[in-house]
């Protein structure tokens, strides 16, 4: 009897805790079919990122990787779809969840992995680590540890493009957490004022570290965040590589033709915890019975669960 009650309680907690899938606002634009070549290229790129990240997680667990390590698992379609829409010379800049972006731009997996393990042949000679890698050759500008700091930098890249009239576009990625940063809006203002060729890609994975967007953001429709600057925005199903590519084509065309910045809000989800040093399924959080059984649930409620907070005080 007690058992069934507990099971019922668990069941209701399950329902309560399951994140609802965010649905993008219907834009009327169809995702667009891929050719055979595109389908296989997308599959290959996404698979490379997934397997690479799994290996990085494994090496981290073995102690071969030190420092921070934020895995991109779950969000692969965003970066792969946009990369397929880009042309040679377009720049990419992002924050610390950056391995996927590097692999998508064509950086060498050996160099990236060697940087993770802090070795000589790494992209920053083993001195940068997971969050600090760059490749001028592949137009990848990092790799930034400070939340939101890449947004003014990416806007600067767009300024350079405009100054040089080279026809390139800067793709500036940031997350739903960074979308509440002041410097993001300073950048929006300048980007629109000077009609800079920049696309702000908000990777909305619904959690700023462990905090739900609903608990941290006054408005959760992030594609509308440019409204007061008259920057158009669109919500995209970030779990569908075809939808991402189609939105990327549209936004790149917009920016390249001199119409100024654009916001793409990618509705996505990460299947792992915020970082390897905050693993979702090990450590003290295991003691929280409400959170422990399900990895997704525990990463979601890592900081939101009262029992976990209570446990944290007593541990």
């Amino acid at each position: 009897m007690a058992q069934t009650q507990a099971a019922a309680r668990r069941g209701s907690a399950d329902r309560e805790a399951r994140p609802e899938k965010l649905q993008p606002v219907n834009t009327g634009r169809s995702p667009g079919a891929f050719s055979q070549e595109e389908e296989l290229e997308a599959y290959r790129s996404m698979l490379l990122i997934r397997r690479f990240e799994e290996k990085a997680g494994q090496l981290y667990g073995m102690g071969a990787i030190g420092g921070f390590c934020h895995l991109y698992i779950g969000q692969e379609a965003v970066v792969v779809g946009l990369q397929m829409a880009m042309i040679q010379g377009d720049q990419v800049i992002t924050a610390y969840r950056d391995h996927g972006h590097m692999l998508a731009t064509g950086m060498d997996p050996k160099g990236v992995m060697a940087e993770l393990t802090g070795r000589r042949s790494g992209y920053s000679r083993g001195k940068g680590g997971s969050m600090h890698m760059f490749s001028k050759e592949k137009n990848f500008y990092g790799g930034h540890g400070i939340v939101g700091a890449q947004v003014p930098l990416g806007t600067g890249l767009a300024f350079a493009n405009r100054y040089r009239e080279n026809g390139n576009v800067s793709l500036t990625y940031f997350g739903d957490g960074a979308a509440n940063q002041g410097q993001v809006y300073e950048s929006f203002n300048m980007a629109k004022l000077w009609s800079l060729p920049v696309i702000y890609v908000i990777e909305n994975n619904q959690y700023a570290m462990g905090t739900s967007i609903k608990r941290s953001s006054a408005t959760t429709n992030l594609c509308k965040r440019g409204q007061s600057f008259d920057i158009p925005g669109e919500q995209v199903d970030g779990m569908d590589v075809r939808a991402v590519k189609a939105a990327g084509d549209m936004a790149l065309e917009h920016a390249r033709s001199g119409k100024g910045p654009m916001i793409l809000e990618m509705l996505t989800y990460r299947y792992r915890g915020h970082s390897m040093s905050i693993p979702p399924s090990t450590g003290p959080r295991k003691r929280c019975r409400r959170c422990a059984p399900n990895m997704i649930r525990s990463s979601r409620s890592a900081y939101g669960c009262r029992r976990w907070a209570g446990q944290a005080r007593t541990i």
């Binding site: 690479f52 290996k55 070795r119 000589r120 083993g126």
Partner: protein, 46 residues
Amino acid sequence: MGWAGEDDLKEIDKEIRLVVNEAAEFAQADPEPDPAELWTNVYAEA
């Protein structure tokens, strides 16, 4: 009909695994930075 069968996809899977395993092995066999690098790339050259 169909652009790729199960075997074709498995082939891609195998290739990717090979690339990733090679990267991991390389990353563990490669030497650590030289101690002489400790103070390089910290400040811009005057």
